[in-house]
């Protein structure tokens, strides 16, 4: 039976984020959380494959312990169990750290044939975790997938990758990892009974002590401010003397230094 792992991220709901008009700082205190949009497509695709081929589906996430509300949410969408890789230090992880932690939890411990990830998260959208995890596990990887077909007889998948210049059809042997685009499917809304049934499904708590050392961060965030658009209503020409005026205006505003 096909064994599928579907990775998801618990992110801030961007609709709830407010901006302080003066400082442009982001205000998160009233922001709720949700499963990242494209991860919902990943879970839905796993469930589609389960309906078609009778697969087992488990969800896996890396998060701080405070994110435990994510578990019933993801379990209500179909997976039979969830792996909750959690530690207090897991807030604001970098993609490389998430990819390393997932690999540490999965390698040799969780059996799988196919890992499905969303193409990118709705907060950082680096699109890196899927490919990093595949590299760490030494398995085939296809990103930007908007169609999956499982060929059971050959133990492989055939996927369509939507690229800028067209569709590329690729065949991958299992085990493999794919990252999916939102147009791959339309996630269903869980029924009430599915929501109530989530509490009965098993959750595997995987804590840091079982994974070894947390990989070090390589990036430092110096600030997060909301983008603004101000219309300055200045007009510049293309003559040599006008270029100077343009550069002075940009220098004055601190856009260039």
């Amino acid at each position: 039976m096909l064994k599928i792992l579907t990775c998801f991220k618990w992110v801030l709901d961007e609709a709830d984020i407010k901006v302080d008009a003066g400082s442009r700082k982001l205000i998160f205190d009233r922001a709720g959380h949700k499963i990242s949009a494209y991860d919902r497509n990943a879970v839905e695709e796993a469930m589609n494959l389960q309906q078609q081929h009778g697969a087992s589906v488990a969800a896996v996430t890396v998060a701080p312990p405070t994110a435990k509300n994510c578990l019933k949410d993801v379990l209500s969408r179909g997976p039979e169990k969830a792996y909750f890789i959690n530690d207090q230090s897991f807030a604001d992880l970098e993609p490389a750290q998430t990819g390393d932690l997932l690999a540490a939890a999965i390698r040799g411990k969780i059996e799988f044939d196919l890992i499905i990830c969303g193409e990118g998260s709705s907060d950082l959208y680096t699109q890196q975790v899927g490919p990093i995890l595949a590299e760490n596990l030494g398995i085939s990887c296809a990103a930007f997938v908007n169609k999956v077909t499982y060929v059971e007889a050959e133990n492989r998948i055939i996927v369509d990758r939507k690229l800028d210049d067209g569709i590329e059809t690729v065949s991958l042997p299992l085990p493999a990892l794919i990252t999916v685009l939102p147009d791959i499917n339309t996630p269903r809304i869980p029924s009430l009974k599915q929501v109530l049934g989530a509490a009965k499904k098993p959750v595997d708590n995987i804590t840091l002590d079982k994974l070894g050392e947390i990989p070090k961060p390589r990036l430092q965030t110096t600030g997060i401010l909301a983008a603004t658009m101000e219309r300055r209503r200045l007009k510049f020409g293309a003559k040599p003397e006008d270029i100077g005026a343009l550069i002075n205006a940009l220098l004055k505003d601190g856009v260039i230094a």
Partner: protein, 377 residues
Amino acid sequence: MQFELTEEQELVKANMREFCEKYVEPVANEIDYEARFPAENIRRLAEQDMLGIPYPEEYGGAGSDYLTYVMTVEELARACAATGFLVETNTSLVCFSLYKYGSEDQKKKYLAPLCKGDALGAFALGERGLAGDAATTTAVSDGDGYVLNGVKTFVMNAPVAGIFVVFADVAKSGGAGGPSAFIVSADTPGLEVGKPLDKMGARGAPSSEVVLKDCRIPKENLLGQEGQGAVIAGASLDSGRIGIAALALGIAQAALEESVRHSKERVQFGQAICNFQAIQWMIANMGTEIEVCRYLTYYAAWCYDQGLPYSEEAAIAKLMASETAVHQSDRAVQIHGGIGTVKGQKVERLYRDAKITQIHGGTPEFTKMIIADCVLG
């Protein structure tokens, strides 16, 4: 005191909102304009286990609680009051009466299809000139069954219902007699559903007369005991009031959201009108009143779930929420100005949908009687 929703309740509320934005809101204007029964959305709600939320799974329900049910009704009404009314009439009035007073056989035969969405329910209580009393519809026992005669008015869901709970008076002669409740299937000979009324609001939830003309039903279709009709009606309307409060809450919430959106977009006198204090005070009042009604409604539902008495709480919630829905839909039109009176604008529909929440299930005058009784002791 615990003011947090459970994880499940949060999820259901979010799912319901998504459902309404995807399926209900897009057809809400069309349903209102054409007075069309949204059969496709009722079917989808049934697939989402939303038609028998607070009733046990063994009877086809979702096995959840009244608070979860109330929040789904609120979300439905926020998108389309008519759809909310269809569900609320089915689940609060008809299902409740069957659940609390039905025999095991009756629950399996009639409650289960209502909870699963195989049939919709209608509550035939009111009569011309005698709101709330079953006095002129009669039920004559002939040993094996009853023969019903009479006319019921303003029966919501009647044109699309498969199962009716009908209130009729059994003549007191030897047996118990008195106002009683009966279960009548739509296909029973002698039950005729009138033409749908051309209503001001909640137009997608059709209401009509129900005429009983020598309508014969087997004696197993007596709900509860002879003479228990007033109790059954009273108890069903009590829980129904929490449902109507939820409907009114949803309408008020939509009125507020439309007002906020419009006031930010509409520019007059050189700025968005939300910058003017007059508008800000209207919005502040609306926001405050909605919070009050939300807590009253959720509290009444919580009392129901805890097995505590809830008649007074339900009456208070219904009184306040329906008044709020009417005031706020009025204010919302005001904030929109002229455009708010044009068909196609959501606030125009909300204004018309709000009024029935002050009448259906007990007028303010009636609910005040209930509250006064409780408060005066």
